[in-house]
């Protein structure tokens, strides 16, 4: 698997891959959380829990480097983030569809890979779409797909873009039973190959093990 | 060395800057009033009547310092903005925000007095003189900065966006000034130019200098007052503000 290949770059180290400490965040005048810390090593995953408005999404955006933290530190491979290395190793899927409505699922995958500077051939992209149950939909504009199908187009990026750490914000929303199971399998495979994941969700997740962080 | 840097940075926090600014404000106001009275006295009673322009020329004692200030405040604003972006100090952004209205006021004052001066001199309220046109564009830049800051709800984001705009503006101001000057010489040839005013008498220079100092002190005093208001508004949920207001 791809995660294993990426992992080899940091083999033989004695630090944890992802180390977060003392993180604090406020929105306007409201303190969302203070002193949040956790660490992940290959094969581990973290389930971020909390009520609506507790700051799960804010934590995710902080973690990937979209917004700055009030305090605290995030280290990846023992380097402070955001680093070029972290961005290469990271895949983040947020609330947004992050797909272009006027393009087909296949075009979306190929162009996203090209923008990321990652090589992707059409066969691999097609296989990823088929695995996520979009067989026969690859040449329709995304506009005509259902919300769940759009979500699957986005999730197909997990298969086409090699990454070591997956940060998925509410990734299980809008998915039917079969797709939830498929995504669970994908994450399990990723972890088994030495990958890491940070997930938010209200429901129990169909992924075994994992650390828990309650905001 | 290290000690002095830490001392310096202490005032970068709103909490310690607030009382410091409060102590400085009366002094700047007093200086502004003293320089203002001296400057006005010289400009109205001491400076001789101009042979060509009569009494009307006395408006330059307001016009020229206002123009200087409008340009200088933009530079100071961009300096604070850049400092805020580079060092992430909160007071810097607040200073930039506090300076903008004063800068816009100076630009407006310069335009208004320019028009008042232009009517008897050129026979028109507005001529497309290179300096007046540049001043007008500078006024637009101030308005843009203030409008952008007002449109963004999150103050931190507003500070950063404003800072980028101020820096882009400061790179552009020389280019704009130069281009307007080029355009002006190409189109108008020879008109009466503000910088071609007849050589100034010594007393006129003193009057101008005192007025410029008065404008300086006024701008600093008003900017400090405004920055105090901004600090209170942004930090209203903190403990120290609750103490300070009581």
């Amino acid at each position: 698997m791809t995660a294993r290949k990426l992992l080899r770059a940091g083999f033989g180290h004695n630090w944890t891959m992802l180390n977060v400490s003392g993180l604090a965040c406020s929105r306007g005048e409201r303190r969302l959380f203070t002193d949040v810390g956790f660490s992940l090593d290959p094969g581990e995953w973290l389930h971020v829990q909390g009520e609506n408005g507790a700051g799960k999404t804010s934590l995710m955006r902080l973690l990937v480097g979209l917004s700055p933290a009030d305090a605290g530190e995030i280290r990846w491979r023992d380097e402070p983030t955001p680093s070029a290395e972290f961005r290469r190793d990271l895949i983040y899927l947020g609330h947004h569809a992050a797909v272009k409505e006027d393009l087909t699922p296949l075009e979306n995958l190929l162009l996203a890979a090209a923008l990321d500077g990652v090589g992707l051939d059409e066969g691999t992209a097609l296989a990823a779409l088929v695995r996520l149950g979009l067989r026969g939909r690859e040449d329709l504009p995304v506009r005509v797909l259902s919300a769940g199908q759009k979500r699957r187009v986005l999730l197909a990026r997990l298969l086409t873009r090699p990454a070591l750490i997956w940060v998925l914000d509410e990734a299980f929303n809008a998915l039917d039973v079969a797709a939830v199971r498929q995504l669970g399998d994908l994450i399990a495979e990723h972890l088994a190959a030495g990958g890491m994941a940070v997930l938010t969700s209200h429901q129990p997740l169909p992924v075994p093990g994992g650390k828990t962080l309650v905001l | 060395m290290r000690q002095s840097i830490i001392q310096w940075f202490r005032f970068a926090s709103p909490q310690s800057f607030y009382p410091l600014a409060g102590r400085m404000i009366p002094w700047f106001w007093a200086a502004a009033i003293i320089f203002g009275i001296g400057g006005l006295w010289i400009s109205f009673f001491v400076a001789p009547t101009d042979a060509q322009q009569g009494e009307g020329y006395r408006i330059i004692f307001v016009h020229v310092p206002a123009s200087w200030m409008s340009m200088f405040i933009y530079l100071v604003m961009a300096f604070w903005a850049g400092l805020g972006l580079a060092l992430n100090t909160r007071v810097s952004g607040m200073m930039a925000q506090a300076l903008a209205p004063t800068g816009a006021l100076m630009a407006a004052l310069s335009l208004w007095t320019g028009a008042l001066w232009g009517k008897p001199m050129w026979g028109a309220w507005w001529v497309w003189d290179a300096r007046l046109t540049s001043e007008l564009i500078l006024f637009f830049l101030y308005l843009g900065f203030m409008a952008l800051q007002a449109a963004i709800d999150d103050p931190r984001r507003a500070d950063k966006a404003g800072a980028i705009l101020a820096l882009v503006g400061v790179v552009n101001i020389p280019i704009i000034y130069f281009s307007v000057k080029w355009w002006n010489t190409l189109h108008q040839g020879s008109t009466i130019n503000l910088n071609k005013a007849p050589s100034m008498a010594q007393t006129m220079l003193w009057g101008m200098l005192l007025m410029a100092l008065a404008f300086w002190m006024y701008s600093i005093a008003v900017a400090l007052m405004r920055v105090r208001a901004i600090i209170l508004e942004r930090e209203r949920h903190t403990e120290w503000v609750k103490h300070a207001v009581e």
Binding site: L111, A114, L115 | L141, I164, L167, V171, N172
Partner: protein
């Protein structure tokens, strides 16, 4: 570099699927330039004199029309977030988007300008200078405009604010662009104006993507 070209290709492909958006700006350009003679009167000498100014102001406004869309679509659907987190440098992707914007909104104006110039009875050599000035000036408009578009991204009343921020910064381009044509008509030679336009383009080409990237990161926070 591949990521840069991929961004250009992507934005062109997207525009191809929504042709109407590109055509609006072009039609706007045509209509605005055609309105001036109606407002001023058909006197050929006067029209010939003000033609470069009219065409340049119309080009300015037409460019402005397409600017709010430059980043907003990508912002709304979340693809901008993905770009910001992409392993490719964001500045490169932003530069690609600006180039695509120029190809879609600037280049058509350059190509149309000689035709519209005929409405104002400009001769062949003047048309040539006008087109050349626009060729150098419209990328400059796209570059400066991108900074404004990024600063006003997701802001209330962004479109009007964008005009307020960007139009003062367009003044040097307008002066030297329209000035080039006038200088040529006056027999002074347009070389100086055109070199200054080119110098400003080089400066903006270097700084604008960088400032735009910084503004986008702020907007995404």
């Amino acid at each position: 570099m591949n990521a840069f070209l991929a961004t250009v290709r992507r934005d062109l492909l997207l525009a191809l699927r929504r042709k109407s958006e590109v055509l609006t700006a072009v039609f706007f350009f045509v209509i605005v330039t055609s309105l001036f003679p109606l407002g001023i009167g058909p006197e050929p000498v006067l029209l010939k004199k003000i033609a470069p100014g009219i065409l340049w102001v119309a080009a300015l406004l037409a460019t402005l029309l397409g600017l709010p869309r430059l980043f907003s679509a990508d912002h709304v659907d979340g693809t901008l977030e993905q770009m910001a987190l992409s392993p490719s440098p964001l500045g490169l992707l932003v530069a690609g988007k600006i180039l695509a914007h120029w190809l879609l909104c600037g280049l058509p104006l350059v190509l149309l300008a000689p035709v519209l110039g005929l409405q104002f009875d400009l001769d062949a050599s003047t048309l040539g200078i006008l087109t050349l000035a626009l060729l150098l000036g419209t990328p400059l408009l796209s570059l400066i405009g991108a900074i404004g578009a990024a600063l006003t991204l997701g802001v209330r009343g962004g479109g009007v604010l964008l005009a307020l921020l960007v139009l003062p910064l367009y003044i040097p381009a307008l002066i030297f662009g329209a000035g080039a044509v006038e200088a040529h008509s006056a027999g002074l030679g347009a070389g100086g104006h055109l070199s200054l336009l080119a110098a400003m383009l080089a400066l903006a080409g270097f700084f604008a993507p960088w400032a735009t990237t910084a503004a986008l990161r702020v907007a995404l926070e």
